[in-house]
């Protein structure tokens, strides 16, 4: 009987290890075998990128939660210490400019999309797709129009944001976005639309290339928009708003 018991204990140990490793492999979402066994470097790298992007998403959610908690605590603290209304209002305003809180309000939505059916014999197919500089031109024109907050496909633009080209997609705040680009800006709709028309590049996109190249570009005012808060990390320790021109940097 004692021998039998130790038999089962030994089996238990190995089965425990089996279950543990099996579950770990399953949950780690690592393709075991195909991609790695062939030693395919490219697939390995793709896998690493996908794993890291997944991790990044989780961390961004965590950061978002913590930032909201900090804002809540500060609000409570200000109320308890009887700090003036103007102090908290100023804090909120600065936080909005820094992109740390979501912003709601009227504004303008600009959508940009590739022409998916370029004419046969097109000289340069690059002419028929939206590039990083197109997105940048629209964003800069919107800042000039006095936008309080700008989001590109749910990515908030902040002072450290860059809009740049990576392969076949565009990188905004280290998140890949692709056509169609939806650029939403909170601000005075009329001023924003006027700024788009006044900007040379933006006006070309909106009025010329729509016809000549078949790009799908449109700008329309919206009554109520929600631009999410910035989800990434902020490295600068000190930021100051320039009051004459309350624009947190122009992206480009």
């Amino acid at each position: 009987m004692a021998a039998l018991r130790s038999h089962y204990l030994a089996l238990t140990v190995v089965l425990f290890v089996f279950g543990f490793l099996g579950a770990l492999a399953y949950r780690s979402n690592v393709t075991v075998g195909t991609a790695t066994a062939t030693g395919d470097r490219h697939e390995q790298l793709v896998q690493i990128v996908e794993n890291l992007e997944q991790k990044k998403g989780a961390l961004e959610g965590e950061l978002q939660r913590l930032r909201e908690e900090i804002a809540d605590q500060e609000r409570l603290d200000a109320a308890r210490r009887g700090l003036s209304q103007s102090y908290t209002a100023e804090l909120e305003r600065l936080r909005m400019l820094a992109g740390l809180v979501s912003v709601k309000g009227p504004g303008v939505v600009v959508t940009l999309a590739d022409n998916q059916h370029p004419p046969d014999g097109a000289i340069d197919p690059n002419n028929y797709i939206i590039h990083d500089y197109d997105v940048r031109a629209i964003a800069n024109a919107l800042w000039l129009g006095g936008a309080e907050a700008i989001g590109i496909n749910e990515e908030r633009l902040v002072q450290s944001s860059a809009i740049r080209c990576v392969g076949t997609t565009v990188l905004v705040n280290s998140t890949r976005v692709g056509s169609p680009f939806v650029i939403s800006a909170v601000g005075d709709p009329n001023a924003l639309l006027a700024a788009l028309d006044a900007d040379q590049d933006a006006a070309l996109l909106l009025h010329e290339y729509v016809k000549t190249l078949g790009l799908k570009v449109s700008a329309s005012p919206a009554d109520e928009m929600l631009i999410p808060a910035y989800r990434g990390s902020l490295s600068p320790r000190v930021l100051r708003s320039i009051d004459q021109n309350p624009v947190p940097g122009g992206g480009g």
């Binding site: 130790s6 204990l9 089996l11 089965l15 279950g19 780690s28 690592v30």
Partner: protein, 109 residues
């Protein structure tokens, strides 16, 4: 008593699922080898139990040495640029089916 191994399996699955650790992709092969070694040992153990030749020490040392050898082969295979890892996968795989066949015969004899 006979449920102990099943409880062990359940606890293992639970632990592996709940632990906050992601295996880096470059170690995925080591993990898969370890899983295979454990599965191989389990089937071998069941077979030995049915044949009444089960020996705890042989069982545990077999499991450990198989895993270690498989890991070493994988490691050196990586260094040499040869997929030696496949040797372990095939060795374990063949034995899995063999053991399963023998267990089947012992159970339905």
């Amino acid at each position: 008593m006979i449920y102990f191994p099943l409880i062990g399996l359940l606890l293992g699955v639970l632990g592996g699922y709940l632990i906050r650790y992601d295996v880096p992709p470059e170690y995925a092969r080591y993990l898969s080898i370890a899983v295979l070694a454990a599965l191989d040992s389990t089937l071998g153990g069941v077979r030995a139990l049915l044949e009444r030749t089960f020996n705890d020490r042989l069982f545990i040392t077999g499991f450990l040495s198989n895993t270690i050898l498989a890991a070493l082969i994988t490691f050196f295979g990586d260094r040499l640029g040869v997929n030696l890892y496949l040797a372990a996968v095939i060795a374990f795989g063949v034995r899995l089916f063999q053991n399963l066949a023998i267990i089947r015969r012992l159970v339905f004899k």
